[in-house]
Structure formats: C-alpha cells, structure tokens
Symmetry: C2
DNA sequence: CTCTTAGTTGAATTATTATTCAATTATTTC
DNA sequence: GAAATAATTGAATAATAATTCAACTAAGAG
C-alpha cells in the first residue's frame, strides 16, 4: 500500500495513531495563539518588566532603571506587551505609567517557578 | 542632586519605587530560567509536538506526519525538548518513541487556553 | 557482512526577534 | 511660542533561533 499521503520516507508509520492524533489536534490558529502567548513570556527583558510591574506601577524611565536598559528598548517591549493586552498604561503629564493588565501572568509565573524548582 | 547612578537621561525618576522594586527582584538567573521555560512553549512546532504527545506516545516519523514537517526538523526540536527534560524517549528497534516527561505542561497549556478565551 | 532504513547531528541557510540610533510626538515650563 | 524632556516610533543592525541539507549512526533483514 502506498504511503504517498505521508510526508516522510518511513514505512513504519503508525497510521492509526497518526490519524487519531490528527483528528484530535486543535486548528492551526489555536497553536499560533498559544505559542504567541508563551513567546511573550519567553524573553528575559519582558519577564523582568512583568515581574517589576507586578510589584509596582512604574513609568518607562523607572522600568529602564530597574532593568538597567535604555528607555527605547523598554518602550519597544512595552509596546509589544500593550498590543498583546498584557499591560496597560495611563498618562500623567509627560510620564506614562504602566501596570499589569492580565490576571493570568502571576498564575503562569507560579507554574514556571514550580517547574524550575522541580527540575533542580 | 546627581542622577549619575541611573542609566537614563530622565530627571523624574521615582527613586523610592525603583529602589524598592530592585530590592524585590529575583536574581538574574531566575529570570533566565523562567524565560527559557516559556521560550520552549513559545514556538508553534513545539507546542504542536507537546500537544500531540499528550494525546499519544509516538515515534519521530509519526510526529513528522502529524505536523506535516520533515523528520529532521522534528528531531532537532525533540532534541531541544529532551535536553530540557520536557519529553523522554524509549528505543524499540530502529524506532524511537517519545512521551511527555513533565506534569506542568498540561497545566500550563490550560492557563494559556484560558488566557486566549479571555482575551477574545 | 551488506543493504536498508529510523533517527540523529553539524553546518549552512533562512527567518525571526531584540536592541540601537536618530528622528518625532506630546506635554510642561518659561 | 520656544525650550526642554518623557516617551514613542521606524529603520538599521545585531543577535538568536528554526529549518534544510547532507552526512552519519544504529539496528534489523536478507
């Protein structure tokens, strides 16, 4: 029997398993969204920003100082976090104050810390 | 008063907030580990692999077929997941079967899906 | 022991993402 | 309104990560 429908050169494909798994896999878009969400947390700069904002509302300049990085790079990252609705901001004069806008962030950090502890 | 100790050109730094936040921030390495953990989940290929392995134990070839990707790229990603102790494998003849090796994965997926639902 | 094949690996390439730099915007102060 | 400045933005650069390709390893079959 032809295995043309499969993409690789193996002839030991477990056809039933593949079909069953394929049937249960969510659609492409779901994976894109999951990965997009985790990608946000998968960067040291952003995890620091989020952790810091969980402790205190801060302006861009404060965050830059806490992380020891330039205002510009922080602002770029805050833009990303804003577009993802993970932080929100309020303007006060020339300053812009940022806070967390997602109740899942803390929760997800906890799981990650648990994971890190566990894997030691 | 000099702001030399701060890295940016602002003079509206909220010194107290910065110091307090800085004092409460975990060490560099903790952030590296958190980011490293999420980075793993922040890639569509890997989220698909993990989701698939949560449904069924599978060999490399099966996974390649489920995802519609080459054996080589899947194997590279499985290598990454193995090194991070997120999947484990057993050899059976020429085939290598993979399974999840982390009880946090499901948990973390659930939070992500909740997040996605919530943000709609 | 040779052939075939499932899987792995390293190097090269391609793609993606972060940071820097310079310019710009918005707001306050004089 | 001009000067000063907090923050944002876009384009360029630098850094990182994913995929491909070709070579290789390990195991079973003849």
């Amino acid at each position: 029997m032809s295995k043309n429908e499969f993409i690789c050169d193996c002839n030991t494909i477990h056809e039933e398993t593949v079909k069953e798994t394929l049937a249960k896999m969510p659609e492409e878009n779901t994976f894109n969204k999951i990965a997009e969400f985790f990608k946000i947390l998968g960067d040291t700069t952003r995890t620091k920003i989020l952790f810091a904002l969980d402790l205190n509302e801060m302006c861009v300049c404060d965050i830059a100082n806490v992380l020891g990085m330039s205002k510009s790079s922080i602002s770029h990252q805050l833009g990303t976090l804003r577009r993802m609705n993970i932080v929100k901001c309020r303007k006060e004069g020339k300053e812009v104050f940022y806070t967390l806008d997602d109740e899942h962030i803390k929760q997800v950090f906890e799981v990650a810390l648990e994971h890190i502890e566990h894997k030691k």
